[in-house]
């Protein structure tokens, strides 16, 4: 006889069977039975965030940084406002294909559709931002639904799955039966590539003189780093990476180019634009990486290796599609790939690279040691300070994010946690919380802007309560910098609603009992980093950086990828008349 349990107990029993040992969440009326039962499962750590969005981002980051262990993030919230507060985080996980299971409380089934207190159509709201969702009205369905939800979240193209759990289903008692298999007749993600397509891909590669691999987050999701490296080395193919693909190949590898796209380096985009073959691995030709579509890599034939058939030909027509799990497909393909050496192509790229180096801001400022301390330099110094120590970087969205992507030379996969597809400001700190919970042995650095930090700063309290080793870097330019940059470049410097009169970030940290320092000068940087690392637990460093600095190079979405705004010669504006009005 299967044991009798309440739905709430079944939920925890099921989560534990799916390998869950951490849940991020926030309680409320419609999920109280689940929270009550939680007390009987001490093996599960519940992290109470200060906002449901924080729980969602934390679970997202947890999943991304533990992808190699097959972990799925879990975030839970109550019905109504709890669920709606989750939605930004659900959308973020959806856009970045992050395997997260969201659990929301719901009013009892008999009240569904009656506009009862805190009743909101959560499955309706989350339909377009989840891979799949479930409404559970009966206790006995819980084990099967949990099993299916985790299976869907972690396999194929990963993504968020939501379970909306009616209160009666949490309270009712039924026999607990853990399903031995997942039965989803309509869910069959492709596994192995088609033989004909493989033959065609092999032929295209054999004919290519100037191939470039475009490595996306799919490489990380499928754990295909060794196969990527083997392909690149065997056929001598340089590797450009998307923002979320950074770490797929260590940047120090001789074939690693770096980040492509809107703020990718000049030589990376030049290589793509001059390629005669692009091999896209688990990336989706987003508008932030292609520039003007009609002028994208005009001479290149394209091989697209993807697990999601709906990505094939969505933005860019491709010559061959290899559908399947990336790691599996590359293993199928590798034995057929011929060894090749391409000295001429590599030399050409090296020449573009040297030219890029020449224009590099940090290179220049550090050579003459003059000018103000700038954002990129802070990041580069952080990279030098932490090199070889396997730290995790979580970022917000904006200029600081792009500088982090450009100047932190990611040596490993799963070490950059950033919001790509949705571009969610405020992602940094809650993502840092999730990463720190996932990796208690590692230092987690959060790089946020002064704007984004204020969106989710309440999670400082979570970091303190959980004793997380998070080092928060706020790059304070007193602006919504990225928007200001666009207003400078495309709206004739008409600055509209971008100036921030900020609180005193050091005092703010102090109120949480978080040691903090403000840095304004170049000579203070190293000491500040040392200070942060001396303290176990959360620390905040505010860096004052020039208000009108820009992220370059830059390609607008209406320009071809190689027509970049390069880095200018002159220093950014440092003084702004009203800057003095901000906090000291």
């Amino acid at each position: 006889m299967p044991p009798q349990m309440t739905g709430a107990q079944m939920l925890w029993e099921s989560l534990i069977r799916e390998g869950v040992d951490v849940v991020f969440g926030y309680p409320g009326g419609s999920i109280m039975p689940v929270y009550d039962a939680l007390l009987d499962y001490p093996q599960v750590r519940h992290v109470l965030t200060r906002h449901e969005q924080g729980a969602a981002h934390a679970a997202d980051a947890y999943a991304r940084t533990l992808r190699d262990q097959g972990k799925v993030g879990v975030a839970m919230a109550t019905s109504g406002p709890g669920a709606t507060n989750l939605t930004t985080g659900i959308a973020n996980a959806f856009m970045d294909s992050s395997p997260v299971v969201f659990i929301t409380g719901q009013v009892s089934a008999e009240y569904l559709g009656t506009d009862a207190f805190q009743e909101i159509d959560v499955t309706g709201i989350s339909l377009p931002i989840t891979k799949h969702n479930f409404l559970v009205t009966r206790a006995e369905d819980i084990p099967r639904v949990v099993r299916e939800a985790f299976h869907i979240a972690r396999t194929g193209r990963p993504g968020p799955v939501l379970i909306d759990l009616c209160k009666n289903a949490q309270n009712d008692t039924a026999p607990f039966v853990w399903p031995t298999e997942v039965r989803l007749p309509g869910y069959r993600p492709p596994q192995r590539a088609d033989e004909d397509a493989l033959a065609e891909a092999t032929r295209l590669l054999a004919e290519a003189q100037r191939p470039v691999i475009l490595a996306g987050q799919g490489v990380l999701m499928s754990g295909a780093m060794p196969e990527l490296r083997a392909l690149a080395e065997k056929a001598d193919i340089p590797v450009a990476m998307t923002l979320l693909g950074l770490g797929a190949l260590p940047l120090e590898h001789h074939l690693a180019l770096g980040m492509m796209g809107m703020h990718g380096e000049y030589f990376v985009n030049m290589a793509i634009q001059h390629a005669d073959l692009l091999i896209a691995l688990g990336m989706r030709f987003d508008d932030r990486v292609t520039g003007k579509l009609e002028a994208y890599a005009p001479q290149a034939r394209k091989i697209h290796v993807e697990v999601d058939p709906a990505e094939i030909g969505k933005n860019v027509p491709v010559d061959v599609a290899l559908l399947g799990d990336l790691k599996t497909v590359l293993r199928q393909w590798l034995p057929r790939v011929a060894e090749a050496r391409r000295p001429a192509w590599r030399e050409q790229i090296a020449a573009w690279r040297a030219d890029t180096q020449e224009h590099d801001v940090v290179h220049k400022t550090r050579r003459n040691g003059k000018g103000p301390l700038r954002g990129p330099e802070v990041i580069q110094r952080l990279w030098e300070t932490t090199a070889g120590q396997d730290v995790i970087i979580a970022t917000g969205v904006g200029q600081h994010q792009m500088w982090a992507a450009q100047y932190y030379r990611f040596p490993q996969p799963y070490r950059l946690v950033t919001s790509g597809g949705l571009g969610t400001m405020g992602f940094g700190l809650p993502a840092g919380v999730g990463a720190a919970v996932a990796h208690p042995d590692k230092e987690v650095w959060v790089i946020e802007g002064d704007g984004g930090f204020q969106m989710t700063q309440a999670e400082m309290a979570t970091a303190v309560q959980e004793g997380l080793n998070i080092k928060i870097v706020v790059l304070n330019n007193n602006y919504l910098g990225m928007v200001r940059q666009w207003q400078e470049l495309f709206y004739d410097r008409r600055y509209s609603a971008v100036l921030l009169h900020n609180p005193d970030f050091v005092k703010l940290a102090d109120a949480h009992g978080i040691p903090a320092r403000r840095v304004t000068e170049r000579r203070e940087v190293d000491a500040a980093f040392a200070f942060a690392r001396q303290h176990q637990g959360p620390v905040l460093l505010e860096f004052r950086v020039p208000p009108e600095d820009n992220v370059f190079p830059m390609v607008t979405t209406s320009d071809p990828l190689h027509e970049m705004i390069r880095r200018p010669e002159e220093e950014p504006h440092v003084e702004r008349s009203d800057w003095a009005g901000a906090a000291p």
């Binding site: 499955t123 309706g124 339909l127 377009p128 891979k131 799949h132 409404l135 869907i152 989803l184 007749p185 309509g186 869910y187 069959r188 999601d308 058939p309 709906a310 094939i312 030909g313 969505k314 027509p317």
Partner: protein
């Protein structure tokens, strides 16, 4: 060039599945021309016939996006396949004395049935391809037509091999 594409979609017979399909079409900005849902020989499976105005380049993406719905078991674009396509329409026309014979004659040419009559009106039931129904309506003359309702197209490919849609466990895709 955009033209009508016909998709046969087998879905799990569960609450909310129609909403998922409709939501997908709204979200991806696909233009549904007609949508028909009904039961099949298997009570666990419902069958949709969708006609969508789209280009040959975009049609595979629609198919792929339908496949991404977890409750969608099978999708087939039957636009260029030999298939039986049928639609049913009810057409109510104004029919006073003196016009009735003409209407009855027209209906018989189209193998349509008169299924209701009142002193003022007659209701015609017709089955056939959308083109056939279009032309009957045209022949009846817009002025005399009071009300039209059409089911949208149902489609089934010809023969046993192509027409046998693979169900769960029947080889997959």
């Amino acid at each position: 060039m955009a033209m009508p594409h016909t998709f046969v979609v087998l879905v799990e017979n569960k609450p909310g599945v129609l909403n998922r399909v409709a939501s997908l079409f709204r979200r991806r900005n696909y233009n549904i021309h007609s949508l028909n849902v009904g039961t099949t020989q298997d009570p666990r499976v419902s069958r949709m016939t969708l006609v969508v105005n789209t280009t040959p380049e975009k049609a595979p993406l629609i198919e792929a996006n339908l496949y991404k719905l977890v409750n969608v078991i099978d999708v087939q674009d039957v636009t260029d396949r030999p298939a039986v396509r049928r639609e049913l329409a009810l057409i109510k026309v104004r029919a006073r004395q003196g016009m009735r014979t003409e209407i009855i004659n027209l209906a018989s040419v189209f193998r349509a049935n008169i299924v209701d009559a009142t002193p003022e009106t007659m209701t015609i039931e017709v089955t056939g391809t959308p083109e056939k129904i279009d032309s009957l309506i045209e022949m009846l003359g817009a002025a005399d037509v009071v009300e039209v309702v059409r089911t949208g197209v149902l489609a089934m490919t010809r023969g046993t091999i192509e027409g046998a849609r693979h169900l769960p466990g029947a080889g997959g895709r």
